[in-house]
Subunit: 451 residues, 2 copies
Amino acid sequence: MADGRWIDRVEELEDVFIKRLEDAVKIPSISAYPERRGDVFKMSEWVAAKLRAFGAEVSIKPLGKQEGTELELPPLVLGRYGRDPEKPTILVYSHYDVQPASIQDGWKYDPFVLTIEENGRLCGRGTSDDKGPLIGWINMIEAFQKAGTDVPANLVFCFEGMEESGSFGLREALEDEADKYFANVDALCITDVVWVSDEQISIPQGLRGVLFYILTITGANQDAHSGGFGGQISEPMTDMVNIMSSLVDSSGKILVPGLYDNVQPVTQEEYDSYNKLNISEDSLLGGTGGRNLHETLADTLISRWKKPSLSLHRIQNATPGEGASTSIPAKLLGKFSIRTVPNMKAQDIDKLVQRHIRERFDSLGSKNDLEINCVAAADWFYESADHWNYKAAIQATQNVWGVNPALTCEGGSIPIILDFKKILKKNVLLLPVGRPTDGAHSTNEKLDNSN
Amino acid sequence: MADGRWIDRVEELEDVFIKRLEDAVKIPSISAYPERRGDVFKMSEWVAAKLRAFGAEVSIKPLGKQEGTELELPPLVLGRYGRDPEKPTILVYSHYDVQPASIQDGWKYDPFVLTIEENGRLCGRGTSDDKGPLIGWINMIEAFQKAGTDVPANLVFCFEGMEESGSFGLREALEDEADKYFANVDALCITDVVWVSDEQISIPQGLRGVLFYILTITGANQDAHSGGFGGQISEPMTDMVNIMSSLVDSSGKILVPGLYDNVQPVTQEEYDSYNKLNISEDSLLGGTGGRNLHETLADTLISRWKKPSLSLHRIQNATPGEGASTSIPAKLLGKFSIRTVPNMKAQDIDKLVQRHIRERFDSLGSKNDLEINCVAAADWFYESADHWNYKAAIQATQNVWGVNPALTCEGGSIPIILDFKKILKKNVLLLPVGRPTDGAHSTNEKLDNSN
């Protein structure tokens, strides 16, 4: 059997691969639950053993205690397969922990028993996010070995056990290993993403960044009754809705002056290519039942991939023991966030936002106090598809699926990808294995057998 | 002893009166707790027995079951003292139930044991709201009897046991008895109010009305992630803050066109009299630490007594299982209320508000759906102080306290007072017995012995 193309071996190995996924799903490696921490460690050992079984060198990197607790963090499972100086060295990132799941949440099957549906769907927690894609790397090595072919790249593995719970310790470990374990890495490949739609095979080149704001407006020490005090005292809610209404309009246009100044224009080529993508209206709305602000497919995709957006999330009463329904809130938190795209600079945007809000507030002549805080920020991410790392992925997709993958973006932000990029300074490829309807953080998670 | 002025008897009877209040406080007649309903009934019997002891005819009016429950409502205790056709007949309303109270809430003493502080404060649940004032009527009869003087009016009592829990059944009972038990009533006296400040003896002539609104804006079936969908779909929060910001400005001015049209102007005489009231800045703000929008005392009082106000209460996510902090809410409830004053008409105001909001929403070109509902409405209340009922109260205050009471208003709304007015169509006097710092619905409720 040690001959032929590796891809032909995949079908022969199907049962082996499925059994492997079954074994992995069986271990409930939920990083969010302290009482499951043992299973996350067990999963790290399982992954290490599999890597070793196929000839990879494995190094377990402990990450110490979880801040503020006595809990040990699950280790990074580092691995190395191949050391050919002629080949490029690819760092592969994935994670072996999973989101919580319980049959009571509405799963059709026990989430920790792999169940195969007639249509070939492999159901179980972690099948898509991210045990399935992780095991894909091991399966690939096995297929190459069975085909008697060399894997065309040296692989460095970095498998994490806390991704679903804040990736504690990962950034420090990356900084620590940048010049050591990861010293000779030429490019990165991260499989923790999905296709743009169930119908459209794709490779995302970009992610939006995010700036998250909290506005605090204070007018009193405690909520007051609107009968007794309405009209007499200064009401924070009045200022809050006024400021918020000055940030964005009902068409989604951001009203902060200067905010669009550095947004990279969309090329006609991109526009045309987006209009040709195979994405149904349902996929576009992701089951939310939301109302699309845009007419064409391209405009819709551009609004989430290539344009900044500003969403008002909530206005929260910050007085402990929220008052009666007719109370005047004494102190409010207003939360909103801005998604950023190339080539916006977070620092500049923050200045524009702060200045705009301060000017608006000053114009109100309010007696309340205002605080503006940008409490979280992550940069946007964008890679050129001209890099060999992307070219290889496009070629591989053609080989396996017989089609050209669409080059897309994602509207969301993935901070750890930024960390990899910032610390290792190499091209990062986001290679989807699953589909958007896999239910990664939801019930009835599945991976289509074809994936 | 059966001679002299009745007022001289009050001091001699002090111990008897305090013992009576002690007995009443001991019965935890909390109408909010089903398991205390027995105590509310016990309290009704206690009140009936006291009335009978001083020669009143008593009639117990059962109110049936509490809607949606198997709980019996506590009865109205109706009473009649004196039937002299030469005298006016006054309907006296008070209630014998109390708010919940427990030492764990932070009371200095057991709330159901009357504790007398050195400064003469009578501490215990119900001392001010409303057992103290209710017992005041019984004490008054006793003092007149001991003084050998006739009470100068016929009294009809209407004592309720559900005031703190929605006054279930009261309105129907009033309608039922309007031409029967209450047929010959000439005027009403309600003691369930307090002075305008601790320092200022007062009689309120007016209460503001209220219109309570819920705006519902719907854009989707479920909350969406702002990374994936921000900029693409229509966001209800954007419309909500825009509409809300068009209702009122930071100086408290209502922006709905036409809203002030029928507001009765304040006379120079009222303005001057308000400026002379003895109300400290602390009393004015009621301990809220709020920031006063007005310079003079008169302007401050006018803003809550004589002017309408519009307060924005909250914006609530209406999607079950509120989403992540970066979500786009799919459906929102926006709550606000308008306090009304003479001579605003609720129906006209509602039309102005609905038209303004609908026009504003239409101008946004939004893809969301808007619903506007006025879910509660209570009229304002205002009585002329020229009526003999008020003149008698002013004279009585002069006799007891040696000063003229200030004629004031209250900013809040008391729906049951409106019911009495509407159904019995007689002059209603609101006669304060307690002070605003009595802590009527709070911990450490007290009544000053002087009151």
